[in-house]
């Protein structure tokens, strides 16, 4: 069975209006740039996007927001995006804010076949409203459900033709979790090698979780907060 796709536009086949999709990345770090561009080109709309952030005005998921392709964002932090704010305040866009660890763990739960998890994050806050609270060892936890996503779109550093993935540095972030969580998982990689060339001990996402893979192109890898030693001498 061939998992290798030619490019992003063929790999996103089947993502239709109204789909629930996960997108890996933290800020603009480790985002699936090629698939986002292909989704923008495809014109698909009414999407529910599960992603830690919503990109910036002219990059990342921000590009999809500009085209009004997103109906709902499920994120932990959505700042740094004027168009996002405009759509939100005008009621065009729905947002569900979720603590970052809860977001990550709800992805993992889906990939691990666990229907729900317990976390203390949000206890005593508005995040807990309407949620089941349970006490273990004297501490309160919220019951949070595994995500149910049609597609997961992730970006890895290296991948092989069997779908095994390796991430680089903090570009790993949510990618391995979402890779496990999609009914269909699409991976774009900087380097695509034949099966057998990656060290089996170094695989972060085993190929069983990955249904489609392609070699991405022209990675821009925009930096959101460029900080260098010249700016602040010690840290």
């Amino acid at each position: 069975m061939n998992k290798v796709y030619k490019n992003a536009s063929t790999a996103i086949t089947g993502i239709n209006d109204g789909a629930v999709i996960m997108l890996g990345g933290f800020g603009l770090c480790g985002i699936p740039e090629n698939c986002i561009a292909a989704l923008v080109s495809s014109g698909v709309k009414e999407l529910t996007c599960i992603s830690n952030n919503a990109g910036v005005d002219n990059f990342g998921i921000g590009l999809m927001l500009k085209q009004k392709q997103v109906k709902k964002m499920i994120s932990s932090y959505v700042g740094e995006n004027a168009e996002f704010e405009r759509q939100l305040l005008s009621g065009e866009l729905e947002v569900e804010l979720i603590p970052q660890g809860t977001l990550a763990t709800r992805c993992m739960a889906a990939g691990y076949g666990m229907p729900a998890i317990f976390t203390p994050a949000g206890v005593g806050t508005e995040v807990a409203e309407g949620k089941e609270i349970r006490v273990f060892n004297g501490k309160e936890y919220l019951l949070e459900y595994a995500f149910d996503a049609d597609y997961a779109i992730v970006k890895a550093w290296k991948g092989d033709t069997d779908g095994n993935l390796i991430y680089k540095d903090t570009a790993r972030n949510f990618n391995p979790l979402m890779a496990m969580a999609g009914k269909v998982t699409i991976a774009e990689v900087e380097e695509l090698v034949p099966a057998g060339e990656l060290d089996p001990n170094q695989i972060h996402t085993p190929g069983i979780y990955v249904h489609r893979i392609f070699k991405g192109e022209h990675y821009e890898k925009r930096i959101e907060q460029r900080t260098v030693k010249k700016v602040l001498s010690t840290l």
Binding site: F26, Y77, G101, L103, C107, T125, Y167, R172, V228, L235
Partner: protein, 227 residues
């Protein structure tokens, strides 16, 4: 190294708040530093103390900012700033990152706040009527960390105390803050309310009492902070 300054005359500068918090570090600590003043704590780690900085986007062993031209877009901290790593670092996914936070493996968490209540409740993510950007990892951190120190100004720009009987803003977490370091004082959160531990050099107990809206326990002689 005693430096006076900051907006409030004899009060501490932001750097000095960070420097005072750095005195709380112990050798071998794993530490998560939030955005703003907390980030500055890394500049004042005492000699002979080794701490490992955790960045909740998936890194243990965060190092200084890179030299210009050495920025790597794949290597950022939770504030999305370009960073470096130190020897012995490790990368992991966001689930493991918050897993170790929930499991209490992070010894100290330092973060900013808009309000702290005398029960240790914290509000730092949402202002009604303003665009809500989200809680990021703050709710996970405050719900799980063993030891949370808040770094903030004692009063807000309007001059209102940020140490309150009850938080007026939506909470980030309940009964979690252990200590507060402001430009005026070091305050512990006890079962009976705030307790004044130290005052900034030259700052009077009276000023601190006036600027603390929540119940503040003042027992005996309150020492000046030492730097």
């Amino acid at each position: 190294m005693l430096r006076f300054g900051g907006d409030n005359g004899m009060a501490l500068s932001k750097e000095q708040i960070a420097q005072r918090i750095a005195q709380e570090l112990k050798d071998g600590y794993y530490v998560n530093l939030g955005i703003g003043i907390p980030t500055l704590v890394a500049n004042y780690i005492p000699a002979g103390i080794n701490v490992v900085l955790q960045s909740e986007n998936g890194l243990l062993g965060m190092g200084p900012f890179p030299f210009e031209g050495k920025e790597d877009p794949d290597l950022i901290n939770a504030g999305k700033q370009t960073i470096t790593t130190v020897p012995g670092s490790a990368f992991f996914d966001s689930a493991m990152s918050f897993g170790m936070i929930r499991a209490g493996k992070v010894d100290l968490t330092v973060l900013g706040a808009m309000e702290v209540s005398e029960q240790g409740d914290i509000a730092n993510w949402k202002i009604p009527g303003k665009m809500v950007k989200g809680m990021g990892g703050a709710m996970d951190l405050v719900a799980s960390a063993k030891n949370i120190i808040v770094a903030m100004m004692h009063v807000n720009p309007k001059g209102e105390s940020k140490l309150l009987p009850q938080c007026s803003l939506p909470l980030t977490g309940k009964r979690c803050v252990k200590k507060i370091v402001t430009e005026l004082a070091v305050v512990e959160v006890t079962e009976n309310g705030f307790k004044l531990l130290e005052r900034a050099p030259g700052v009077t107990v009276k000023e601190i009492v006036e600027k603390t809206a929540g119940k503040l326990i003042v027992e005996g002689d309150i020492k000046e902070m030492q730097f």
